[in-house]
């Protein structure tokens, strides 16, 4: 997949404002197709339906947080190879190392720059090739 350009991104995030900004950033500046999922418990179904190239996960979410959702995704054979990038406001070095060990493709910190976000994701995407 990484040999094709990054096109479809699924973003799991509970904060509506940030959802809107990420959508606008990726769609308007990045010219990508974006699917936003507000409820992390419904994320796996949505991902299976949307078939994204890459999943962007918020870390702090109610009920099911990013790392837990990530673990669930890894349990599904059809999602095992799907690249996952975390976006987080509370990244200690230890937690970042832990995520990378779990197989996260990348970690972006909040606040991010919507101007640069599409390019950051594409850089990660190209690195997977």
């Amino acid at each position: 997949m990484p040999d094709t350009p990054l096109n479809k991104v699924c973003y799991v995030e509970d904060d509506e404002d940030i959802q809107r900004i990420v959508r606008m950033s990726l769609e308007r500046i990045g010219k990508m197709q974006v699917e936003i999922v507000a409820d992390p418990t419904a994320a796996i179904d949505a991902i299976l339906a949307f078939q994204p190239d890459l999943v962007l996960l918020d870390w702090m979410m109610p009920i099911l947080d990013g790392p837990a959702l990530f673990r669930r995704m890894r349990e599904r054979p059809e999602l095992r190879s799907l690249p996952v990038v975390f976006i987080t406001a509370k990244a200690s070095q230890r937690e970042l190392d832990e995520l990378r060990k779990m197989g996260a493709a990348g970690v972006l910190s909040k606040p991010f720059s919507p101007k640069d976000l599409p390019e950051q994701l594409r850089t990660i995407w190209r690195a997977l090739a």
């Binding site: 900004i21 950033s25 909040k110 991010f112």
Partner: protein, 603 residues
């Protein structure tokens, strides 16, 4: 009994010498001499009296001159003996000169004896039968009187009595009378018997002296021991008073101490506790003393201070500090405590008791928890809305939502700038909190400092342009490899560059220079700003240190940048500082140890 005790001082030698030898021969001799001399006055008086009577009895016309001559000898010898006696009495060192005095006494005894012997030899043949009987009795009595007089020295008696008896025996033997010849045979026997008795008496005297010396020594030892014992008792009393005083001091320390102090025996039985411990645990001391601390003070599910832990501690006998465990108060309330345990071990390594100091840290832990929670909230809850605000403003500024012009664009940029400032402040506070709580970790790597400096100039160019200030490298940036955290070193460079830009006059240039010297590399950032006020210099790297708060409002900045930079540079093994710049302005610099002298060689 005797004279030596009457004049003891010269006869008493040093205690040590006495202790080494129970009967020092010199002292025995001195005592004997003393004994012999003590008999002298009586002897002189008796000699004069008996001599007088003899002179009277033997007086007749024929031998008048001879008797007078003899009487003169008696007086002369008596006078000499009296002089000798007085000489001895006034002697300063009777102990050292005892031998000398004994010899003189021997000579005087010999003279005395010879004089009586002379009387026997000269007057016996020339006088009547009655006078001869008188003389025989006189000589026998005089000789016998020598036994007690010279009891302390039998040879002296032998000389004395011999001098009397020998001439007399000779006279008797050569008298030509059978009876006298027979008596002449008896006299030596009589003499020898007397010498034998004197010898025996002498032995008795000797043992008497020895006993006396031994007794004296014992008495002296005893009194020395007594003195020692008294001193020891005094010392003990003093020591006891000191111990009692320090005991009272200690008790006072414990009683007034704000932290709990509990003494336990090796089985964790509570021996003593201070009022602070009573207060902390809610028990009066008498309820807890005698009970096991392990079973009485901790909740059943406490898993730090367990019996197994205690067994290990008692076996190690090593002090333990800052053990945290939960305690159960009498009222059932659980508190968090921090313990310091100090075992009291005696010289032979036995554990006597354990002093436990304990502090209720429930509130402290709660404060720590709240602070952590606050930090985490600051980190997440403040950043989340800022993410939206900054994101939204950036999207507008980027033109993704259409063109914005004029005052709207200006206002959006004001909002974006201040949102960014707020974010910087939060990040700085979090950084300083992490650094100060020791949770800050660096990810050091080998990196080319010259490249990092160039990169920092590019990254901060637009920021400087906002103040209409240029950034420029001065001189050559030599290749320099350092071992440092790239992101954090960039943070330091950004801080120095943005500070310099903020304080530079419009249209001026901030200059960056790199220098290498003896294993370190130095990066300098120089501006033409107003310089550092004198009264601010020592607070330069403190938190929220800003010389002029109006600058903050005008130009932004959190007041934490330099404080963080200083800590970061120091964590990377370097140092940071500033100095005045020639021609006005300041130079801020940091130095880092070089990884290798030049990178060029490895390229």
């Amino acid at each position: 009994m005797i004279p030596s005790s009457a004049a003891p001082s010269p006869a008493v030698p040093a205690r040590g010498a006495d202790a080494r030898d129970s009967a020092d021969p010199r002292r025995v001799l001195a005592d004997r001499v003393e004994q012999l001399y003590s008999q002298m006055p009586l002897g002189i008086v008796a000699t004069l009296a008996i001599g007088g009577i003899a002179t009277y009895e033997l007086w007749d016309q024929r031998t008048r001159e001879l008797v007078l001559f003899w009487w003169g000898l008696v007086l002369l010898i008596a006078a000499a003996r009296a002089a000798l006696y007085l000489g001895y009495r006034s002697s300063k060192d009777k102990l050292a000169e005892a031998g000398q005095w004994l010899r003189w006494l021997g000579i005087s005894a010999l003279a005395n004896g010879v004089n009586w012997g002379f009387a026997g030899a000269v007057f016996f043949p020339s006088h009547t039968d009655e006078q001869q009987v008188f003389l025989a009795f006189l000589l026998a009595g005089i000789a016998s009187a020598g036994i007690p007089t010279y009891a302390a020295s039998w040879p002296m008696f032998a000389i004395y009595a011999g001098a009397i008896v020998l001439p007399f025996t000779y006279v008797l033997a050569t008298f030509g009378n059978r009876l006298f010849s027979e008596i002449a045979l008896l006299v030596p026997l009589f003499y020898l018997t007397n010498v034998g008795i004197a010898y025996r008496l002498n032995q008795v005297f000797y043992s008497g002296y020895r006993l006396r010396h031994a007794y004296n020594r014992l008495t002296k030892d005893y009194s020395a021991l007594n003195t020692q014992l008294e001193q020891q008792i005094e010392d003990l009393l003093e020591a006891r008073q000191e111990v009692e005083a320090s005991g009272r001091k200690l008790a006072l320390f414990a009683e007034r101490a704000p932290i709990s102090v509990i003494e336990l025996d090796p089985n964790s039985t509570i021996l003593e506790m201070n009022p602070a411990a009573e207060h902390m645990l809610g028990y009066p001391a008498f309820e807890l003393i005698g009970r096991s601390a392990l079973h009485s003070l901790f909740p059943p599910d406490e898993n730090t201070l367990t019996p197994a832990w205690w067994a290990g501690f008692v076996a190690d006998k090593a002090p333990v500090a800052r053990v945290r465990a939960r305690c159960l108060r009498r009222d059932g309330l659980e508190i968090s405590c921090e313990f310091t345990l100090t075992p009291l071990v005696n010289d032979t390594g036995d554990l006597l008791s354990i002093i436990v100091q304990c502090q209720d840290i429930t509130q402290q832990l709660e404060a720590e928890r709240l602070k952590k929670e606050f930090t985490s909230t600051l980190s997440h809850e403040l950043r989340t809305p800022l993410t939206s605000i900054i994101g939204a403003l950036q999207l507008i500024e980027s033109g993704a939502t259409g063109e914005v012009n004029g005052e709207i664009a200006e206002l959006v940029s004001v909002a974006a700038r201040n949102a960014q400032r707020l974010l910087d402040l939060i990040n700085d506070i979090l950084d300083i909190d992490k650094i100060e709580s020791g949770k800050f970790t660096l990810a050091p790597e080998d990196l080319a400092l010259d490249e990092l400096v160039r990169e920092s100039l590019i990254l901060n160019k637009s920021f400087a342009e906002r103040f209409n200030v240029g950034l420029q490298v001065r001189g050559e940036l030599g290749a320099a490899l350092v071992h440092a955290d790239r992101k954090r070193l960039m943070q330091v460079l950004t801080n120095l560059l943005s500070n310099a830009a903020k304080f530079s006059p419009v249209q001026s240039t901030v200059e960056v220079r790199m220098q290498q010297a003896s294993g370190t590399v130095r990066v300098e950032v120089s501006d033409r700003g107003p310089g550092i006020p004198e009264n601010f210099r020592d607070r330069m790297f403190m938190r929220f240190a800003q010389a002029d708060s109006t600058v903050t409002r005008q130009k932004g900045g959190t007041g934490l940048g330099l404080a963080i930079s200083k800590r970061l540079v120091e964590m990377m093994g370097g140092r940071i500082g500033f100095e005045d710049r020639d021609g006005g302005g300041s130079t801020f610099y940091f130095e880092l140890p070089l990884r290798r002298l030049t990178l060029a060689a490895t390229k």
